[in-house]
């Protein structure tokens, strides 16, 4: 099976999963207690006004009819008006998703760029002080939730040492035409290096706070996998041949240890999008996680389904990418899927 065929097969399967998720979340959103019309209109609204809004939202129709109407609109790219923001849900998603993705992508990059090397260093110096120090640090990173890191980082690097901005995505004095919603891209497209620097400056703390747990996890996993790999005959043979220690570590111990780490990072990365809520809140980051929690509290039915579908799709895409990466890294997996 070629990579393209495998990709198409996985995409098809993902669409089926998304359809299932849409049904499930559509049902769950309606089971959450609270009348969306009453919540949106407030306690002073008359019964007639509430009834009118319920009718406009099709809430009095049987749930099967509601779902059919919803899917019909979804196919046309219309998720209706958000009761939370009073804007089209698609507008909200288009605005908030890039902000969250930018944050999560940088976090993912940090997890790979810092977590894997730290794990490799730890394994290479197993039982010595660099290993012991890194194990303590990574344990701390894993054990504290992201919002604790977020508050701690703000306190140290934004309040006591005012090195980083606390809130927002860009300096208040800068304006950049919106092209993709990814400010790092839009600023470069506009040829504004100062704005690019500002966007990056705003990204670093929240991305690091969000990534810390993943960095710790990736480092610990890489360490334990590398240590296991060091005991394999392949590494022993490389050492017996007298290859330099660095080469043995990189080529014979590190590469085979990447697969479980990458799999976990892939899952972590996808989960970040849903878990970024408190980090987004502390850094006033205009992202999808904050929006997701807001619409759930407001019982904004269409926005709930839209947000969950986006997060699910990201999860599925991340999984596909990880699977392909893993099969590239380890030919045995690719061959076994081909039935050889």
């Amino acid at each position: 099976m070629t990579i393209l065929r495998r990709l198409l097969w996985r995409l098809g399967a993902s669409l089926i999963v998304l359809a299932g998720v849409s049904m499930l979340i559509f049902l769950i959103a309606r089971i959450i207690p609270g009348d969306p019309a009453r919540i949106a209109l407030g306690p002073r609204a008359t019964e007639d006004q509430v009834a009118q809004m319920r009718e406009a939202l099709n809430l009095d129709e049987p749930i099967v009819v509601q779902y059919a109407l919803f899917m019909g609109d979804l196919v046309r790219g219309d998720l209706g008006i958000s009761l939370y923001s009073n804007r089209p849900v698609m507008t909200d998603l288009a605005e908030y998703l890039p902000a969250s993705l930018e944050l999560v992508l940088l976090s993912g990059l940090m997890m790979v760029a810092l977590g894997l090397p730290l794990g490799a260093i730890s394994a290479r110096y197993r039982g010595r002080w660099p290993d012991n120090l890194l194990r303590v640090i990574t344990l701390l990173a894993v054990s504290a939730p992201a919002f604790v890191w977020a508050i701690g980082l703000v306190l140290v690097f934004a309040y006591i040492l005012p090195l980083f901005p606390i809130t927002g995505r860009l300096s208040d004095t800068m304006e950049i035409p919106r092209l993709t919603g990814f400010l790092l891209v839009d600023t470069l497209a506009a040829g504004r290096l100062d704005a690019f620097a500002s966007a990056l400056h705003h990204l670093i703390l929240p991305a690091f706070a969000l990534a810390l747990s993943g960095i710790g996890q990736a480092a610990r996993l890489t360490r334990s996998n590398m240590i296991a790999t060091y005991d394999t005959p392949a590494v022993e043979m490389a050492q017996a041949y007298g290859f330099p220690e660095g080469r043995v570590a990189r080529r014979y111990a590190f590469k085979p240890s990447l697969i479980p780490s990458l799999t976990i990072i892939g899952l972590d990365f996808a989960a970040l999008l849903g878990n970024a809520f408190l980090v987004e809140l502390i850094f006033a980051w205009p992202g999808l996680s904050r929006y997701g929690v807001g619409v759930i509290l407001q019982k904004d039915l269409n926005a709930i389904v839209g947000t969950v579908l986006i997060i699910s799709a990201t999860f599925l895409i991340a999984n596909i990418i990880v699977d392909i990466l893993v099969s590239v890294l380890n030919p045995r997996i690719r061959l076994s899927e081909d039935g050889l």
Binding site: L41, L155, G168, R290
Partner: protein, 527 residues
């Protein structure tokens, strides 16, 4: 080699920080509120929406500065002819678009609000029969029946620029989508950008018909949903000017220690423990009285204390907050009396040991758990088994629609929608009201209903004072709620910033949210 790498990384980081340094700016006011901010005045419901509405739009009348009732604003004068209210408008007001503000705009604004059926439209539902422009500067509201609170209710009807709104209508939508992203008002500020979840940026409109204070902000940045820790860090760096009212007391105290000034707004809002009068044992007035007498008002007052100078609550003497029609300053405030509580309990038809109470506090306001815990401690002395539940707001709004199963006690802050007592008491206690969190004591008393109906038609101020004083006395006797304290919403103001309307009581507007007129705040030049 590694040293070189670190040097490059360090230099890159410093360069990023240096390149990212913001340039100097003008006078900026930075405040925060809870998400979301709605800028369409016809959909405005909460505190943040009120702030936006009063700065983007004007109304015919405005809450009376330094007193009660209303004062002229867009309307210079008015006359009442039976059920007709005839307003004369200022002739020197233009919208931000440059269009003159006329009576036709008033008619259109009313029709638009009622057609959309959201926001504060329910305050006018069934009240106004028709609105007509009888001249460029004269507008007549014909009421369906006499309605004394009408003038006060008009503070909730912002006037929009008919021509601009109509130009942006799509398929007869009253420009609903457009108005949630743009402003079409005559107010002192216009929208620069608006993200309902994150931030609204507004700019001062120099042609506004009223004078701003010295040092008024040229730009306002209103953020939504900032965490208290974030607000504290921002204020510590001089990057935030006025906090919201929704932070824990400890954060205000910390900010005050750091040099911020604390001001409070008495916005005609009471903190009520709503008692479910439809559910045993609280359907027995003696049981309710027992709970009210046993309630530890003094401890509650301590819980609202931020520091020696500032408290977020003052004791109440009834259902009506200070400054509203019907409030009697001579009435004693409530105080705990366990002997009276025991005496009332003995007359109650229910045995406390067999009738546990469920007390609910709203999950999104964790500070309220302290009140619930205090109740649990005290009412256990009366023999009640008190179960405390932390309930999300969406679930609570559902629970309160079914009186027989709704919680026994819910702590909620309820504010008047307008400066008139009717906007508070009618929604809370008239038996015709649907079961919502505002009416969640479900109290039904024909005598009280009659008084509240009478208050709606009586226009003589002294007669209205008497009517509402009687209503207040009935409520104090029947105890549909425990009137815990009158809310004094706290705001932390950064050093160098003056929130004039709350710093000087003679400038304070009586209704919640109406004090945050940005043009009445002095801010220093931005560094």
């Amino acid at each position: 080699m590694p040293t070189k790498k670190y040097m490059i990384m360090g230099t890159a980081l410093l360069a990023t920080a240096a390149l990212a340094a913001p340039a100097a700016a003008d006078r900026i006011l930075r405040i925060d509120e809870v998400a979301v901010g709605e800028i369409d005045p016809a959909k405005a419901t909460d505190y943040a929406d009120t702030i936006l509405a009063i700065n983007l739009y004007d109304t015919l009348v405005y809450p009376n500065q330094g007193g009660s009732g209303v004062q002229p604003h867009l309307a210079t004068e008015w006359a009442i002819d039976g059920s007709a209210y005839i307003f004369t408008l200022r002739d020197d007001v233009t919208f931000n678009s440059g269009n003159p503000l006329t009576a036709a705009d008033v008619v259109y604004s009313f029709e638009r609000m009622m057609a959309l059926g959201q926001g504060n439209s329910s305050l006018f539902d069934g009240v106004v029969d028709s609105v007509e422009a009888t001249g460029d500067n004269t507008v007549v509201f014909n009421l369906s029946s006499p309605f004394a609170p009408f003038l006060a209710t008009l503070v909730r009807m912002p006037i929009v620029d008919m021509a601009t709104v109509q130009a942006n209508e799509v398929d007869g939508d009253w420009a609903s989508s457009w108005m949630s992203q743009n402003s079409a008002g005559s107010g002192p500020y216009v929208i620069v950008s608006h993200d309902p979840q994150t931030e609204t940026v507004l700019a001062y409109e120099p042609d506004y018909f009223l004078e701003p204070v010295d040092g008024y902000p040229e730009t306002v940045r209103m953020s939504y949903g900032l965490e208290p820790a974030t607000v504290r860090a921002l204020m510590g760096r001089g990057e935030h000017d006025i906090s919201s009212q929704w932070m824990p007391p400890e954060v205000y105290a910390g900010l005050a220690e750091d040099g911020a000034t604390l001001v409070t707004e008495a916005g005609l809002t009471g903190e009520y423990f709503k008692l479910n009068t439809q559910r045993p044992p609280l359907d027995d007035v003696h049981c309710r009285r027992a709970l009210a007498y046993a309630f530890d008002y003094a401890t509650m007052a301590q819980l609202t204390q931020i520091n020696d100078d500032t408290s977020t609550g003052v004791p109440m003497s009834g259902a009506i907050p200070m400054g509203m029609v019907g409030f009697d300053p001579d009435l004693p405030v409530f105080a705990q009396d366990m002997a009276l509580a025991q005496a009332e309990l003995e007359q109650c038809a229910y045995d406390p040991a067999e009738n546990p109470l469920d007390v609910v506090f709203i999950a999104e306001t964790p500070a309220r758990e302290r009140g619930a815990l205090m109740m649990q401690a005290i009412y256990s002395q009366l023999g009640f088994d008190v179960e405390i539940t932390r309930t999300p707001w969406a679930l609570l709004t559902e629970q309160v629609t079914a009186p027989p199963t709704a919680p026994h006690v819910v702590e909620i802050a309820i504010g008047a929608a307008s400066p008139d007592t009717d906007s508070l008491l009618y929604a809370m206690y008239h038996s015709s009201q649907p079961p919502t969190w505002i009416s969640s004591s479900y109290y039904a008393n024909p005598e009280l209903d009659a008084l509240l109906d009478q208050g709606r038609v009586e226009t003589d101020p002294s007669a209205r004072q008497e009517i509402y004083a009687k209503a207040n006395a009935i409520l104090a006797e029947a105890v549909p709620d425990i009137f815990a304290y009158e809310l004094q919403s706290p705001f932390a103001v950064r050093e160098g910033v003056t929130y004039h309307n709350l710093a000087d009581p003679s400038r304070t507007y009586p209704t919640a949210g109406f004090n945050m007129r940005f043009a009445d705040v002095s801010v220093p030049e931005s560094e």
